[in-house]
């Protein structure tokens, strides 16, 4: 890694904790037990003191087992998750790829492109000028005026991907979104992702697909139980992660 390259996002000793209310199995015993009443909660320490710099025109891979805090760290990088302590600094605000949370299943694909585009910060005119391009990219011309709930999960994923990549942010965060749809769409989406990568200033990629991580990342960070285990050359970090994973 070239240390002279400008930093685009700096995560500085970030801690993210969730407070989760427990939902204990209710037995007769608990109902009548004289112990503490009231609701018990548990604090989940999802990210524990992570410090990480992301540089200009760099693709950083984020790996780790399920529940290691990858998605939480990714969300924290947008500044969308309140931190327990630490800071997230950035040149501009990073964006997560994906807009599925904005989509309405009762409405047609066309109306959802409008809603998704507006959620991403387009104006109505900007969405309308990109409408045909998005429909064609998603390959949904025939189904576009049908309600979203009639779509297969692959069709939904294609629509989400097509809307989300209509605008390329300076700093892009991708959480396992690359292998959606059928073969034809996968080829098109891989191409689009490359385009996004080369246009975006920096990219963070969360994936369990180690081949993809090694092929596309300049640097890899391995997250284990909320802490960074290793950061460095993709080959080395992936090998270390796989060795530790196999040993468990």
């Amino acid at each position: 890694m070239d240390p002279g390259r400008a930093v685009t996002v700096r995560v500085d000793n970030a801690h993210v904790y969730y407070r989760v209310y427990e939902d204990p199995a209710a037995g007769i015993k608990q109902l009548f037990s004289s112990g503490r009443t009231g609701r018990r909660y548990q604090t989940i320490r999802a990210v524990r003191g992570v410090s990480l710099d992301l540089h200009e025109s760099e693709t950083l891979g984020l790996i780790g087992s399920n529940g290691s805090g990858k998605s939480t760290l990714l969300a924290a990088m947008t500044g969308l998750l309140p931190l327990q302590s630490g800071r997230v600094l950035g040149r501009s605000r990073p964006s997560l790829l994906g807009v599925s949370a904005a989509l309405r299943s009762a409405l047609s694909g066309r109306r959802n492109i409008l809603i998704g585009g507006l959620a991403l910060g387009f104006t109505r005119a900007e969405v309308e000028s990109r409408m045909d391009e998005i429909i064609d990219f998603a390959g949904l011309r025939a189904a576009i005026d049908r309600p979203l709930r009639t779509y297969s999960s692959g069709m939904r994923a294609r629509l989400n991907f097509a809307i989300a990549t209509a605008r390329i942010p300076e700093i892009l965060l991708i959480d396992e979104a690359l292998s959606v749809g059928d073969e034809g769409f996968r080829a098109r989406s891989a191409e689009r992702i490359d385009e996004v990568r080369s246009a975006a200033g920096s990219v963070v990629l969360v994936s369990h697909n180690m081949a993809e991580i090694e092929a596309s990342c300049d640097r890899v960070a391995w997250l284990d139980a909320g802490s960074l285990r290793a950061v460095g050359e993709p080959g080395e970090v992936v090998a270390a992660y796989l060795a530790s994973d196999a040993a468990r």
Binding site: G4, R5, A6, V7, R10, A75, T78, G79, L80, L81, P82, L83, R87, V88, L89, G90, R91, R93, P94, S95, L96, G98, V99, S100, A101, A102, R104, A106, L107, R111, L114, I115, L118, A119, L120, G121, F122, T123, R124, P147
Partner: protein, 275 residues
């Protein structure tokens, strides 16, 4: 080489109010168009479809008229009780629907909040816009009904635009405050219907406060209730019912104070709303 870190800004801090408002303005289409789409989606599965936006307020007024106009007569001191009742019920429910919907606008959009960055104030703004747009058929219905009960449109009716604007400001301020509280305390949603039931009787929706409350100081106290103020002003516009300056001042003051307080409270917590 100059320090490359100089350009970095703290992403967990809220942007200054001016920058925040500029971003809200740039993204105004979201708050204007998404609620309209949602209104469409609401009745899409039903047999009568979009007609329900008109049928709902009509049925509501019919039920109130049956109870308070026919069964229990509370029409004392009012010439045109049906018009009086319609204006009260319709205007009260506009605010009620805005505020109750605002209480859940953050929890309902948690997925969106956690995955897409935008000024969160767009969510309560979309709620206010959506419920106000849904109010349009009820407004038309109320105007038609008032004419049907014998009122004639006059220049006074133009003042209704001002009343609606003042109520919009008030609703928006209340929505911001309630959205913030509802995000922190989801129990708010359970409490609000009871608060509104209380307000319903304290706002003279179904009876004339002037006719039922004899004490002058108690009548003054009603002017502290913003909903009473709005309804009374709307009745003055459409029915020529009496209004005094306290009531108008109350309506304007509540709107201004709630808008400013609501904005500041909401803006300060904007970044923490995803938790």
């Amino acid at each position: 080489m100059s320090d490359p870190d100089q350009q970095l800004v703290d992403l967990t801090q809220p942007s200054p109010p001016g920058v925040y408002l500029a971003e809200v303005w740039r993204r105004r289409d979201f708050a204007l168009l998404v609620p309209v789409q949602d209104l469409r989606a609401q009745n899409m599965g039903s047999a009568l479809g979009q007609l329900w936006h008109l049928l709902n307020p009509a049925l509501m007024v019919a039920v109130y008229f049956l109870i308070f106009g026919v069964i229990i007569d509370t029409s004392r001191g009012v010439d045109n009780f049906l018009g009086f009742l319609i204006v009260g019920v319709v205007w009260f429910h506009l605010t009620q629907r805005v505020v109750q919907d605002a209480a859940v606008c953050i929890p309902r959009n948690l997925g969106l909040i956690r995955s897409v960055q935008f000024p969160r104030i767009l969510l309560p703004a979309a709620t206010v816009n959506g419920q106000t747009a849904a109010f349009a058929p009820a407004l038309v219905l109320a105007l038609a009904a008032v004419i049907a009960t014998g009122e004639r449109p006059s220049l006074r009716w133009l003042a209704l635009i001002g009343v609606l604007a003042a109520q919009f400001v008030f609703n928006f301020g209340a929505a911001l405050l309630v959205a913030r509280i509802g995000a922190a305390v989801p129990d708010m949603r359970q409490l609000l219907p009871h608060i509104f039931r209380l307000l319903f009787y304290a706002s003279g929706v179904i009876f004339s406060v002037d006719a039922f409350v004899t004490s002058e100081s108690w009548r003054r106290a009603f002017a502290l209730n913003p909903l009473y103020d709005v309804i009374t002003c709307a009745r003055w516009c459409l029915l020529g019912e009496p209004v005094d300056s306290w009531v108008v001042a109350g309506m304007l003051a509540w709107g201004a104070v709630l808008l400013v307080v609501g904005f500041v409270v909401f803006w300060r917590s904007d970044q923490r709303l995803g938790a």
